[in-house]
Amino acid sequence: MVDWIIGSLVLLAAALAAGKLIRDRRAGRSACTGCSGCAHQGSCPSRPCTQEQPHINQ
């Protein structure tokens, strides 16, 4: 019984972690990694592109 309870908690933690990773990836969200790119460039370099077409400078 104890194994089931503790084991379920471990599974829940793993599921929450996996869910967060999948949700962030689907939303194109990348949490701040503190790279200070915003300080150097004025905007977050991790923000993904919103369209498929080639970039202006390519």
């Binding site: 503790i6 949490a31 990694t33 790279c35 200070s36 905007s43 370099p45 080639p54 400078n57």
Partner: protein, 743 residues
């Protein structure tokens, strides 16, 4: 119908601060179509003068001019020329008026109602300078108003004035910037545009028929851009060949008469006009040519001879404090006391008391806590390091590093512009690789993408700390050594790749703005430290947690006596079987056992994983406590027993230089837009790391074990590398390439 007001100005002039003051929370943040540049739009607050109308405020990217060179410039001018807002608020930095007015002269040519908001007036007053706004208005032909966006002083008046201008539709009177042969040539070009015939022009993928003559308000602007031979305007207008020939002749005549190229002529005349304006409108307390405090500091810090040694000394000091002294004390407490003496024994005891099975207890203590704890154990050191780096950034020193590195990089055919993504990559390789988008030259961009991950990112710091702490006696020089290995790898790779057809060519010019030095703001420093550190902790709670569970399972189960079951000896585990199959590859590098192989391979998931694997395989703090109880103080931790000193340096070198984590490889794929180039990048990084580690380990063995015939191979490889670096390039290299210029 809504009134649209655009905020335009140089980077760091205060546009976003004003934007936030005018719109508050009524903002929408997205991206400009097709690019990663942020697009911010908001509704003007009623208190700021909206008065029932919908007033949309558009915060445009910061630009120095409306040239077509950078993404931000193209976006800004496309919006102003094609979307035509109802008014422009041009924010200029009052402490740097001359440079900011360069853009103002171009904005005034667009024929859009405009006012100039002179920002940072509080700083101007503090410096003892005086700006005559009435004179400036008279000279520029537009209203000039005072503003202090940070305090909000003047924001309401500026907003009201912009709304009034938009409703009235008052276009600025033409500014007389150009004279003599230039004015003559521009008049000729304007005349040609006035009588342009029907033709197609191409804009953003849609073909539009331009049945009418050029709009009068834009004729002047287009004439100037044609005089400058602006590629994008030429492509857009698609002039008839005879019209184009006539324009080109007018430009050539002017260039001959003024003995200069068209772009320089325009630039010089604009600055001459601005200088004349400043003579009447600006009174400086400091005499022209005298140095500010920042200038005096920069004479030393960015000195041609002292700049790089000072950078080395600063980085050594940072790592000495973060890794060896303050950071080591708190990390030792976290590893040995917090996890080693409190958490793990306490958890084991509690799990045993409640009757949890051995396998589940093992999963929790050895797997989850062992793996995650190994990474979290370095959090204190990371926080100390991030704190110190945040101070360097906030003070303004890190911006100088790119300038210093440009001087070094340029000797090897690289540009300091490539160093900024690497500087960002020292936090995390993913945004570092994505930041390479700012590099217009495709060759340089590809090379930057390939070499950015050579600079140790935040995730590699635990590997450095682990090796330095367990094998190399806590040596403080290991951290800085890793950064210099990274820089050396960038330089060597740059030299070698520049000798190939795909990467040959001159480095791009590099101009950057150096912010003034100021005392670090503790709020900014602590916020930066927290964001970096919290990101580190979040990864431990997600990626590392999941992989620790997987690794524990793989190391705890295997085939014993022909059956699949839990194994006592890890050497019979699934993980050992997988690692053992690959381990021979790493034997020549000195760390060819299955444990080190698994750690290295799993570093592809996340670089912190290397530490986490050792944590799961050997436990966090457990074995250290046993050694203390046995009095075996002279015995190193089990991790250290995996390595000799040379093998540890080889292991460190390989993990620093090899292919980055999957997230970074994904970023490489996105930026390269091509699987072939992605495979080349990853392949190059891995082969380069293998060769360097092989040379390091084998040559180290010559010192420890004496020369053996097998050592001829690393010597030959080293000779080959030296040849590749010093051999003459088969492709032209212009030694007179433009140098970095401090803006």
């Amino acid at each position: 119908m809504a009134i649209r007001i655009a905020l335009a100005g140089n980077p760091n002039s205060g546009k976003t601060t004003l934007f936030n003051a005018l719109t508050g929370s009524r903002q929408y943040v997205g991206n400009w179509p097709g690019v990663t540049v942020e697009r911010k739009e908001g509704k003007l607050k009623a208190a700021q003068g909206a008065q029932g109308d919908d007033v949309i405020v558009q915060d445009l990217p910061g630009v120095y001019s409306l040239s077509p060179y950078t993404l931000e410039e193209v976006i800004t001018r496309n919006y102003l020329v094609d979307d035509r807002p109802d008014a422009i608020i041009n924010i200029v930095d009052g402490t740097n008026l001359e440079r900011n007015l360069y853009l103002s002269t171009q904005l005034a040519e667009l024929g859009i109602p405009m006012l100039i908001a002179v920002n940072m007036m509080d700083v101007v007053r503090k410096q003892g300078d005086r700006i005559d706004l009435n004179q400036l208005s008279a000279q520029m032909g537009v209203e000039a108003m005072p503003l202090s966006a940070l305090t909000g002083e003047g924001a309401h008046a500026v907003a009201q004035a912009a709304v009034r201008l938009a409703r009235q539709g008052t276009v600025p009177r033409p500014l007389q910037v150009f004279d003599g042969p230039v004015a003559h040539a521009l008049a000729h070009i304007e005349d040609a545009l006035t009588h342009r015939r029907h033709g197609h022009h191409h804009h953003g993928g849609d073909v539009r028929r331009q049945g009418e003559a050029m709009p009068a308000a834009l004729r002047r602007w287009y004439a100037i851009k044609l005089f400058e031979r602006d590629d994008k305007v030429l492509a857009q207008l698609r002039l008839a060949p005879d019209v184009r020939r006539g324009i080109e002749q007018a430009i050539a005549d002017c260039e001959q008469e003024m003995d200069d190229d068209a772009q320089s002529i325009i630039t010089n005349q604009r600055y001459a006009c601005i200088q004349a304006m400043m003579h009447d409108a600006l009174r400086r307390k400091r005499a022209p040519g005298s140095l500010s405090a920042s200038d005096k500091i920069d004479r030393v810090v960015t000195n041609r001879v002292l700049g790089f040694p000072i950078f080395i000394a600063v980085m050594f000091l940072v790592y000495y404090i973060a890794v060896t002294t303050v950071g080591a004390v708190v990390t030792d407490f976290t590893n040995d006391t917090f996890f080693g003496a409190w958490i793990i024994p306490g958890l084991e005891s509690w799990l045993s008391n409640v009757g949890v099975s051995d396998w589940l207890s093992g999963l929790i203590t050895e797997g989850i806590v062992g793996g995650v704890g190994a990474v979290l154990g370095f959090v204190p050191q990371m926080f100390v390091l991030f704190f110190m780096l945040a101070i360097l950034e906030d003070v303004g020193y890190m911006a100088r590093v790119a300038f210093i590195m440009d001087r070094i990089f340029r000797r090897f055919g690289l540009s300091g512009k490539s160093f900024i993504p690497m500087l960002i990559g020292s936090g995390c390789s993913v945004p570092g690789i994505m930041a390479s988008r700012t590099i217009e030259n495709q060759r340089d961009r590809r090379m930057t993408i390939i070499t950015t991950s050579f600079i140790p990112c935040g995730a590699k710091l635990p590997i450095i700390a682990m090796i330095a702490g367990t094998v190399l006696g806590g040596a403080w020089w290991v951290g800085p050594m890793c950064y210099f290995i990274g820089i050396a790898a960038v330089v060597v790779s740059g030299i070698i790749l520049k000798k190939t057809r795909h990467f040959a060519g001159d480095p791009a010019p590099f101009v950057m703005e150096l912010p003034a030095y100021h005392l670090p703001g503790m709020g900014n420093v602590l916020r930066s430290m927290w964001e970096r550190g919290f990101s580190f902790i979040k990864r431990a709670g997600t990626v590392i947690l999941l992989s620790s569970i997987a690794i524990w399972f793989l190391k705890s189960y295997g085939w014993a006596d022909g059956k699949f079951a839990a194994v006592e000896d890890m050497d019979h585990s699934i993980l050992a079987a997988i690692g053992g199959a690959v381990a021979p590859v790493f034997k020549p590098l000195g760390f060819g056992n299955w444990q080190n192989t698994v750690a290295t391979v799993l570093g592809l998931v996340a670089k912190e994983e290397v530490v986490s694997v050792f944590g799961v395989l050997y436990g966090v703090g457990e074995n250290a406590l046993d050694l203390v109880e046995e009095g075996a103080f002279d015995q190193l931790a089990p991790i250290a027993m995996n390595f000799t000193s040379m093998a540890a340096i080889s292991f460190l070198t390989f993990n620093l230089l090899c292919a980055p984590c999957f997230a970074a490889i994904g970023a490489i794929k996105r930026e390269m837009s091509n699987w072939r180039w992605t495979a080349f990048a990853v392949g190059y990084q891995t082969v380069f790391a293998y060769v360097i580690s092989f040379i390091v380990y084998q040559l180290g063995m010559i010192v420890t074990t004496g020369f053996q015939p097998v050592h001829l191979l690393p010597i030959a490889l080293l000779a080959g590398l030296v040849y590749l670096v010093f051999s003459p390039t088969p492709y032209g290299h212009n030694d007179a390439a433009p140098q970095a210029v401090r803006a």
